[in-house]
Amino acid sequence: MASKILSQKFYAEMEKLIPRYPTRVALLLPALHQAQEETGWLPPEVLEEIGAYIGIHPAQVREVASFYTMYNLTPVGKYHVKICTNVACCLRGANELVEQVERKLNIQCGETTRDRKFTLMEEECLGACGTAPAMMLNDDYYENLDSKKLDQILESLE
């Protein structure tokens, strides 16, 4: 096999988790999370490496990874903007926020800006309905959004 892409840290984290589960396959979701934290997205080579580590066919890694929306199987920008447009956020104007970002970044939902800085996505319910509209920016929540606040957040990003 080609040289490893995932770091020593990745493997150290996984070794810590092994005693936590009765099977090795159970490491798959934590491994995908940990890998994505390192590489930003999950290219086939990384999935292959995870499969080899766990001892499962690479197709099994792919079928699992592709089931969950949080695993990026295509590259995303430095800032991954995920605006919730589910019911509660919709009732509070989330669609208009999506349109605002689309205009501002000049991309459609699901696209990445040419400079690879931003990826915009519509998200399903984030469990922040009491503080709607809400979005995730990479791993962090931003809540009680309005047009002005959203603008400020986007402006502040390097």
Binding site: P30, V64, Y68, M70, N86, C125, C129, G130
Partner: protein, 424 residues
């Protein structure tokens, strides 16, 4: 106001172990439980009339009672912290503010069913809450509440936070178990039920966060006390309600079970409708609950009263819609969600949810036909009760109720092409 268990502890930051010990009688229920037999604990929980807070409302004591005493495989306690039903956000508060309450609840559950391994399956998006839980778990290990020979009792318990990765269906308990095992979160055929063969093939109890956080209170104050907190016969304790949508004060509130009507909750807790508009609709139990019209809300907000009028309390997530929001747009968004979250295993859900979404989307785009409404009702009927898990019903219920209760709005929309209503 009646007694509340949680809400006074919800604050801007997580409550550390010191606070929990000092202000919430932390881990005293565990000490008590360790001195009790498993059967006595389960009896106490049964007495409490605690019913699952995730949505199904199944009596918790009974669920624990299904776990076989003897098992060749390890038993597991799994906390369902997937909180994925749109409109629900109470478990998030419980985990971020009172994580030790959950840990203690799981320890007691473990002791009661004879399990020494627990997992908290938390939705992947809750990164912050997962970190807070992990920090609390670390505190508990250091203080001897987790690990080997807990408080010198000989009882061992290990607890691990397992993050989901973006799939509503993992809130379904067998989908969750598959996801925990490193598989696609597809629900399993039942039987066998998790109580016989759950996580990794072992007998497993799966409980919602709020269900488990109730346990320490029940042990400390007795099942009878907890049962009496509720105002209806079959529902004990208090309920955390997530209120969202067109209300002035959205958020998490706590009421004695069965103590208020929907109208009272909207007016007194939610602060009334945003902009003092008229009410159009209430979705009373997460987006899968059949919708209620403005004249159906003088109903006591609890499991049986809502069931009686054809809807459900679900996860106690109330979404309020004011008069000028378009119901076609609303049901389109709900249906799109279930279509997006259908795992795709079983035929009626995989094909039917998409079909319904396509038809509603077409109506929304102004290409509706008169016969579409009956078609929608029929598709929903062909899904309902015929799928492998409850997601099919979750998708069909809203469509049926919206079309039936707001038929005139749909017909007007179809006739006029696009409707003139604004969206918010």
């Amino acid at each position: 106001m009646s007694e509340t268990l949680y809400i006074q502890h919800f604050n801007e930051q997580a409550r550390p172990l010191s606070y929990y010990l000092e202000k919430m009688a932390g881990y005293s229920a565990l000490k008590k439980a360790l001195g009790m037999s498993a059967d006595d604990i389960i009896t106490e929980v049964k007495k409490s009339n605690l019913r699952g807070r995730g949505g199904a409302g199944f009596p918790t004591g009974m669920k624990w009672g299904f776990i076989p005493k003897q098992s060749s495989k390890p038993k597991y306690v799994v906390c369902n912290a997937d909180e994925s039903e749109p409109g629900t956000f109470k478990d998030r508060d419980l985990m971020r503010y009172t994580p030790h309450l959950l840990i203690e609840g799981m320890l007691i559950a473990g002791h009661a069913i004879g399990s020494s391994i627990g997992y908290i399956y938390i939705r992947g998006e809750y990164t912050r809450e997962a970190k807070l839980l992990n920090a609390a778990i670390e505190e508990a290990y250091k203080a001897g509440y987790l690990g080997k020979n807990i408080l010198g009792s000989g009882f061992n318990f290990d607890l691990t936070v397992h993050r989901g990765a973006g799939a509503y269906i993992c809130g379904e308990e067998t989908g969750l178990l598959n996801s925990l095992e490193g598989r696609r979160g597809e629900p399993r055929v039942k039987p066998p039920f998790p109580a016989q063969a759950g996580a990794f093939g072992g007998p497993t109890v799966v409980n919602n966060v709020e269900t488990l956080t109730n346990i320490p209170f029940i042990l400390n104050n007795g099942g009878d006390w907890f049962a009496k907190l509720g105002k209806l016969e079959k529902s004990g304790g208090t309920r955390l309600i997530s209120i969202s949508g067109h209300v002035k004060k959205p958020g998490v509130y706590e009421i004695a079970a069965g103590s208020m009507t929907i109208r009272q909750i909207i007016d007194q807790l939610g602060g009334g409708i945003l902009g003092d508009k008229k009410l159009k609709a209430v979705i009373p139990g997460g987006s899968s609950a059949p919708v209620l019209t403005a004249d159906e809300i003088d109903v006591v907000y609890d499991i049986e009263p809502l069931m009686k009028i054809g809807t459900m309390m679900g996860s106690a997530a109330m979404m309020v819609v004011s008069e000028d929001y378009c119901v076609v747009r609303l049901i389109q968004r709900i249906t799109k969600f279930y279509e997006h979250e259908s795992c795709g295993q079983c035929t009626p859900c995989r094909e039917g949810c998409k079909w319904m979404e396509d038809v509603i989307h077409r109506i929304l785009e102004g290409h509706g036909r008169e016969q579409d409404l009956n078609l929608l009702l029929n598709i929903a009927d062909n899904i309902s009760g015929k799928t492998l898990c409850a997601l099919g019903d979750a998708a069909a219920g809203p469509v049926t109720s919206f079309v039936k209760k707001f038929r005139a709005d749909f017909e007007a929309y179809i006739r006029s092409g696009k409707n003139a209503q604004v969206h918010h």
